[in-house]
């Protein structure tokens, strides 16, 4: 744009760059007239009209679909090769910190519904997920929730702990019976920004608290943002087979979610990228291993 119309009067150049039209000397009417046209949107339109109908009106709107790169520009790796690189780059990192992560790029429209769901991996990624359940203390649900592995159960004591700034859990569920008490305690200010406030809309207010606790303990929530779903998928010590199982479960689940949307919505998986906490991303080509890949046993453990 900068060299564009360099020999012309300033004002004329202004019109040019704001209207983003190719250079045509004739269409720029005398400089004086140009001076009056500088800011008027209307005038610019008129100006465009003069240039003839052959020129398409430049679209200011973003494209309807997310733009996708050409996969031919990309080197893609088999799962074992990608794991070999990632394990090399993560060498010496702490076992509990580093995780395999996956980013799944979708081919989808910019508007419309997004995928949001939870899955349970065949091989658990998170070693520990602390869950808080808000339900009447001493009730059957409270006992069941504790048995299912919730770390914090109750009403008043939970509210007091949260108000004191002690939030020692990663998830929060509530039983419908406790909802009035919860609303009265006005914890939305504290829990809301952390995404921990139970609400019917997010499915964290449930009758059967215990089964949900069990699900959450092994489950990972994923969500599509800007056409990409990112989620942790395995511990660094996983074998390629374990990682493959988790990856397969994830992709099947996402495909199911995409199929479950409205009939007119077309969403499909475009690219799967494997990376890790400190490592780079490797686009996967869907193969498990090549002849040059090391034995799968060599890619297991730390």
């Amino acid at each position: 744009m900068s060299s564009f119309g360099a020999g012309m009067p300033t004002v004329a150049r202004g019109i040019l760059s704001s209207a983003r039209l190719p250079l045509r000397e004739k269409s720029i009417v005398p400089t004086l007239a140009g001076l009056q046209q500088v800011r008027g949107l209307k005038n610019q339109k008129k100006d465009k009209g003069k240039k003839g109908k052959s020129e398409a009106k430049p679209s200011r709107r973003a494209p309807l679909e997310f733009r996708q790169g050409n996969l031919k520009d990309l080197t893609q790796y088999t799962l074992c090769d990608a794991m070999r690189f990632i394990r090399a780059i993560e060498v010496g990192r702490e076992r509990t910190v580093s995780k395999y992560e996956v980013a799944i790029r979708m081919r989808t429209r910019r508007d419309g519904p997004v995928i949001r769901n939870m899955i349970r991996f065949p091989h658990a990624v998170q070693t520990e997920s602390r869950i808080c359940v808000i339900c009447p203390p001493g009730s059957k649900q409270a006992k069941d929730a504790l048995a299912a592995g919730a770390v914090l159960v109750g009403e008043e004591e939970v509210f007091a702990a949260v108000k004191a700034g002690k939030i020692e859990f990663d998830r929060c569920l509530a039983h419908p019976d406790s909802l009035p008490a919860l609303n009265k305690a006005a914890l939305g200010r504290i829990l809301g920004p952390r995404g921990l406030m139970p609400s019917v809309k997010t499915g964290t207010v449930v009758e059967d608290v215990a089964s949900r606790v069990e699900m959450l303990r092994g489950g990972t929530i994923y969500r599509e943002r800007d056409a990409t779903i990112r989620l942790p998928i395995g511990q660094l010590g996983f074998s390629p087979e374990q990682l493959r199982d988790n990856l397969r479960t994830t992709i099947e689940s996402i495909k199911k979610d995409a199929a479950g949307l409205n009939d007119r919505i077309n969403k499909e998986i475009y690219e799967v990228v494997l990376s890790s906490t400190h490592g780079p991303g490797f686009s996967l080509n869907g193969e498990f291993k090549t002849d040059d890949s090391p034995e799968t046993s060599a890619l297991t453990g730390l």
Binding site: M1, S2, S3, T10, V11, R13, G14, S17, V38, R39, G69, N70, L71, D73, L74, T75, R84, F85, R87, A88, I89, V91, G92, R93, A103, R105, T228, E271, V273, P280, G281, F282, P294, E295, S297, A298, L299, G301, L302
Partner: protein, 203 residues
């Protein structure tokens, strides 16, 4: 996601783990000899800051260890950074069955004690290398001498990739200047237009 070209450019830079200092194969079950037995695992202990001669040890971890791990995926490698600047900077090499013939000489007469290194198994022998005040290249020379690691020979693909990256780096200063000039011209023009509209003070 980021533009594919940009992503591949960065990835190719990172993938220098295939070649360079430390790109070598330890003797494994197939290539082990009497002189150089199989290397089963490595453990590195160093202090986080560089004072007290810990710099080379950390650089060895960041630069050479990924390459070693890439070419020897089955050799377990652990790293323990400590806060003890006066403590040891040590690499412990674990051999199957017996030590290599050169390992005792490199370990020195008064071997350092690394309390963080895991104890060798019943069928393992371990030798230590003191890393204090050594550069990471020197550390690698000693590791190679004591384990008998064979250097990895770069393939034609690796060489082509390295040449491509070197070419890009050589072109980069010129490109940078060109882009800078374009951006400056654009900025100047915008400034001039703003001045003409009276939105900003004239300089």
């Amino acid at each position: 996601m980021v533009n594919f070209f940009k992503r591949m450019r960065k990835l190719n830079t990172i993938l220098e783990v295939r070649t360079g200092v430390g790109a070598a194969l330890f003797p494994n079950a197939a290539t082990a000899t009497k002189e150089f037995p199989t290397v089963t695992r490595l453990h590195l202990t160093y202090a986080r800051k560089i004072y007290g001669g810990h710099q080379g040890a950390r650089h060895f971890w960041r630069r050479a260890l990924p390459r070693l791990k890439y070419h020897n995926p089955s050799v377990a490698m652990t790293v323990k950074p400590t806060d003890e600047q006066d403590g040891p900077a040590v690499l412990t090499v674990y051999y199957a069955e017996r030590l290599s013939s050169t390992a005792p000489g490199i370990a020195g007469s008064k071997p350092v004690v690394d309390k963080y290194a895991p104890a060798p198994d019943a069928n393992e022998k371990s030798a230590v290398i003191d890393l204090k005040n050594l550069t990471f290249e020197e550390i690698w020379r000693r590791v190679q001498a004591s384990t008998g690691a064979k250097d990895f020979v770069a393939t034609a693909d690796d060489e082509a990739n390295a040449k491509n990256l070197a070419d890009i780096s050589a072109r980069a200063p010129g490109d940078r200047q060109r882009i800078k000039a374009i951006r400056q011209a654009k900025k100047d023009q915008e400034r001039m237009l703003a001045e003409a509209r009276g939105e900003v003070e004239k300089q």
